[in-house]
């Protein structure tokens, strides 16, 4: 991660709004829109080195554990919490719950997949399951722009683009799943409207 930080700064460059709303200690949950593998690296680079080992991206096991090298890199270097997207019994979020009990900070992409670059899709409900179980843990929404342009899904060539990050204010569980999900989705959509982005199509 010591290497990644200057690479993120020179290769991309970050414009961040409302940085002070980022959690400074665990347990906490960060949710963000997902367009690129770079998302995780960029979010991790926002945290001080001392906190880094406690920030855990939640990621798909079928993708990141598909070969031993990738699995080693994902779990040992990045420190992901792998979850099974197709479950056969058992609670797929078990490890995520465990991490929160250890006062760690989770990164969750509720869209579930990187999808079409620079477009938002409907959120999956996993985040509400976590929040319902830990109603006192704050959920901080982030909106990221530009990384889908720099390294979109299905493309191996990296092209430098500045990355805009908008940090929203933290939310707490409100007792009703659908309403809560709608609120989080609306908040990220609002964050995306704060920016003035050049066209890209």
């Amino acid at each position: 991660m010591l290497l990644v930080r200057p690479l993120v700064l020179i290769g991309l460059g970050i414009n961040i709004r409302n940085r002070k709303a980022l959690p400074t200690q665990g347990p906490a949950v960060i949710i963000a829109n997902h367009n690129s593998h770079l998302d995780t690296l960029v979010i991790l680079s926002l945290f001080p080195l001392s906190l880094l080992s406690r920030v855990r991206p939640v990621a798909a096991a079928d993708y990141f554990l598909r070969n031993p090298f990738l699995a080693w890199f994902a779990t040992k270097i990045i420190g992901i919490i792998p979850i099974q997207r197709a479950t056969k019994g058992g609670n797929p979020l078990h490890q995520a719950f465990e991490a929160l009990r250890n006062n760690e900070i989770l990164i969750i992409y509720p869209e579930g997949s990187r999808g079409v670059p620079e477009e938002l899709t409907k959120f999956k409900k996993g985040i509400s399951l976590i929040s319902k179980k830990f109603p006192e843990i704050p959920i901080t929404p982030l909106f990221l722009h530009g990384l889908g342009k720099a390294l979109p899904k299905g493309d191996a060539v990296f092209v430098p683009f500045f990355c805009d990050i908008f940090v929203g204010n933290a939310q707490l569980w409100e007792g009703e799943k659908d309403l809560f999900m709608q609120k989080l989705e609306a908040q990220i959509t609002d964050l995306s409207k704060q920016g003035h982005f050049p066209e890209w199509d």
Binding site: N15, V157, P198, E199
Partner: protein, 322 residues
């Protein structure tokens, strides 16, 4: 002075650098006095600007003092950051990702031509080879919607941020490549020319700002490009010409009246560079080109004048002296 002999700078340049730091200390003291006893947000932007100047001048001084390769790499990095800022700011097409990738590849090549002192390649690489290659690469992708706009904006950005700015870097190698029969000599006057260009350009920006504020408009903190009053403009021309006369005699081959002319040219073209980038920002409806430098905005906001002064000053010197 054994150490100095190994560095690519002369003793005269060292004195001028010291002079710049004296000015910087003075500016810091003045702004601190202005802020004294006031609320912390008073003159905050001015304070951030002065602080950023400390960083920028120190980094730049290091970049030109250590060795030539580092100087060229540093200026290449400036071009890269400026191009990245530009391409992040303008509308681009999804289909053109690979084309943009090739545009970035042009930067190390262009700066390699500079480093090796290959003038012929340096001067045609972007206006001819890259200019012809990028549309070809774009055509291969087959996306014709918005083709002209895409290739036009990309080429303009490359000319401004890479071709123009690389002229500043070429000043370093200009004196020795111009020497007769191309014997490889190590001439230290190049770094001084680069320093002169950058110092005069940035001094002019500040002079236009200060004159504009002192006489032009009281109690206004200009948000975009300051010093767009006539007073600022003329004050900038006179101040820059005077400074140019003072410095050029020491660290350039120019005579007194040519140095004055160089100062006027830098001031005038610096102004054009400034308003050109401003026009683009207004077109795109953004205030700053980025937020890389606290108090200044983006990097492109800082080097906007240099995109014009670098090639003009370069060709002025080359035509008359090398």
């Amino acid at each position: 002075m054994n150490l100095l002999e190994q560095l690519p700078i002369t003793q005269d340049l060292l004195y001028i650098i010291a002079g710049v730091y004296v000015l910087l200390c003075l500016a810091t003291v003045i702004v601190s006095l202005m802020r004294r006893g006031q609320a912390p947000e008073k003159h905050l932007e001015l304070w951030l600007r002065v602080k950023s100047w400390w960083y920028m001048i120190t980094i730049f001084t290091f970049a030109i003092c250590i060795n030539r390769a580092l100087s060229v790499i540093f200026l290449g990095l400036i071009s890269y950051l400026a191009l990245k800022e530009y391409l992040s700011m303008i509308p681009t097409r999804r289909a053109d990702r690979r084309v943009l990738f090739w545009a970035y590849i042009a930067i190390p090549l262009q700066y390699y031509w500079v480093y090796s002192g290959w003038y012929g390649m340096f001067i045609i690489f972007i206006p001819v080879w890259v200019f012809l290659f990028l549309p070809f690469r774009m055509v291969l992708k087959g996306e014709t919607d918005g083709f002209l706009k895409a290739i036009g904006t990309l080429n303009w950005g490359l000319m401004m941020t890479v071709f123009s700015l690389s002229h500043a870097a070429y000043l370093i190698v200009l004196p020795e490549t111009a020497s007769e029969n191309h014997t490889p000599i190590f001439d230290k006057s190049g770094a001084a020319l680069l320093f002169l260009l950058v110092l005069l350009t940035q001094f002019n920006d500040v002079a236009q700002y200060v004159w504009g504020r002192l006489i032009g408009g009281p109690k206004i903190i200009p948000k975009v490009s300051p010093g767009k009053t006539w007073v600022g403009f003329l004050g900038g021309i006179i101040s820059t010409a005077l400074l140019s006369m003072l410095l050029s005699l020491v660290i350039s081959p120019m005579s007194l009246h040519m140095a004055a002319l160089a100062g006027v040219i830098i001031s005038f073209t610096g102004f054009i560079g400034d308003v050109t980038i401003s026009a683009i920002k207004r077109d795109l409806k953004v205030k700053d080109t980025g937020s890389t430098i606290p108090g200044h905005g983006g990097l492109l906001d800082r080097v906007d004048s240099l995109t014009y002064t670098a090639p003009v000053f370069f060709h002025f010197l080359r035509y008359f002296y090398y």
